[in-house]
């Protein structure tokens, strides 16, 4: 099992990057990573030797995140937990900063399923097939979420407001 432990530990930086992009604040993101690691570790007997630990861990994180988002929706009136302000560790040039900040803000406005899809592919560079497995949806759904998510980001960043969107699976 030490082999698996090392494989999981190797994934921590990437899990943290994805979580940070997904939920924003550092503490909140690390909470999600910690939940993911603990759940993964508790279920380590379910891991198939030789299979990709990254996809497995990202799937766990996806499921936890979905549950958290649902939990929040069912508890109206709650302030989002943890620090709200996303923390970014870099200092870009002024003009660049504007674009980058805009994307961070636009990302927050995406429905969670679009955000996940855009991040898994654009940031984590997963194949469409891998993203489909992590998200538990068909590849076609990944493609349509990706297209809509990216187009939404583009619209948000060019200052266009879109009419209320339909939730598309």
């Amino acid at each position: 099992m030490d082999e698996l432990k090392d494989l999981i530990a190797e994934q921590i930086p990437r899990l943290r990057r994805y979580a940070r992009a997904l939920v924003g604040g550092r503490a909140q993101a690390d909470d999600l990573v910690q939940d993911t690691l603990e759940r993964g570790w508790a279920r380590r007997h379910l891991w198939r030797r030789g299979s990709d630990p990254r996809a497995w861990l990202f799937t766990i994180m996806h499921n936890l995140h979905v549950n958290q988002v649902r939990g929040r929706v069912r508890a109206p009136g709650l302030t989002p937990l943890e620090d709200n302000a996303p923390e970014h560790a870099w200092r870009p040039a002024a003009e660049e900063a504007l674009i980058v900040r805009d994307l961070a803000r636009a990302l927050e406005q995406l429905p969670p399923e679009y955000r996940e899809t855009v991040l898994l592919i654009g940031l984590e560079q997963m194949s469409y097939q891998e993203a489909a497995e992590v998200l538990g949806v068909p590849v076609g759904t990944v493609m349509s979420r990706l297209a809509r998510g990216r187009e939404r980001l583009r619209a948000l960043m060019s200052g266009q407001t879109q009419p209320t969107l339909r939730r598309v699976k």
Binding site: R14, A21, W41, I121, R154
Partner: protein, 253 residues
């Protein structure tokens, strides 16, 4: 690609993500040269990918917090807290309990309600000058007996002197359908903390610390056996966490 029509959406994205074979890529490129609208979208999408990396890649180089490295060891909440690791070590049993069962996250909602009730009670009673508590610390034994009886579970006020807070006293409060208790503490400068204790958690679970913030008020809350606890105070997160750990240790002595 259709002969005269637009590039299929899926291929446009596969092009952006560099997932096409060279022949197909060349065809798309040729098409894009004649379709400024599509070319503009491709540029925008690529820029999104680059910006995502600029934004979030720095996370990859951050040192991994100890609590995350420690998550890969079969240890339980109490040990974690003692090790000084940061909060939110969700007890494995709890997580598996309700996630795997596929039950709705009612438990989480209930705990968030705990934090909220604690925050409200804190806001109502800490500004009180004349009557901050019903029973003062001088009658601590009476206080804990009375509250234990009303909550139907053994309750006691942790001693937080080492963290710089002395017990002021406590009171009985309406919880979500059941009685709850509030203990109030004060430091040397008059800063007040409250510990809200609720007997609503029916099953014997143990959760990690969770953190919520409402304005300047921070709340750490957790469930330990039959009781839910929420420590509220206008302190920085780290400082409040240290006190929450002191509460936890004192109650588990």
């Amino acid at each position: 690609m259709t002969r005269n029509g637009a590039i299929p959406e899926s291929e446009l994205h596969a092009y952006v993500d560099d997932r096409l074979d060279p022949a197909r890529r060349a065809e798309i490129e040729a098409h894009l040269a004649a379709d400024p609208e599509a070319a503009e979208r491709v540029r925008a999408y690529r820029r999104q990918n680059e910006t995502l990396h600029e934004l979030f890649d720095p996370t990859l180089d951050e040192p991994v917090p100890e609590r995350l490295a420690a998550a890969l060891a079969p240890r339980r909440g109490a040990v974690w807290l003692r090790s000084g690791a940061l909060a939110a070590s969700v007890a494995t049993a709890f997580l598996l309990g309700w996630y795997l069962r596929g039950a709705p996250p009612a438990a989480v909602v209930a705990e968030a309600a705990l934090a909220r009730q604690a925050a409200i009670a804190h806001a109502v009673y800490t500004p009180e000058v004349l009557h901050p508590v019903e029973v003062r610390a001088e009658q601590e034994e009476h206080l804990t007996k009375w509250l234990s009886k009303r909550l139907g579970s053994s309750v006691r006020a942790p001693h937080l002197g080492a963290a710089g807070f002395e017990l002021v006293g406590g009171r009985l409060l309406p919880g979500g359908g059941r009685p709850a208790a509030q203990f109030m503490y004060q430091d040397a400068r008059g800063g007040r903390l409250t510990l809200y204790v609720s007997a609503e958690a029916s099953d014997n679970r143990e959760t990690a610390f969770r953190y919520a913030r409402e304005g300047s008020l921070g709340v750490f809350y957790w469930v330990d056996g039959p009781l839910g606890y929420a420590l509220a105070g206008e302190l920085e997160r780290e400082r409040l966490l240290a006190v929450a750990e002191a509460v936890y240790h004192d109650l588990n002595r």
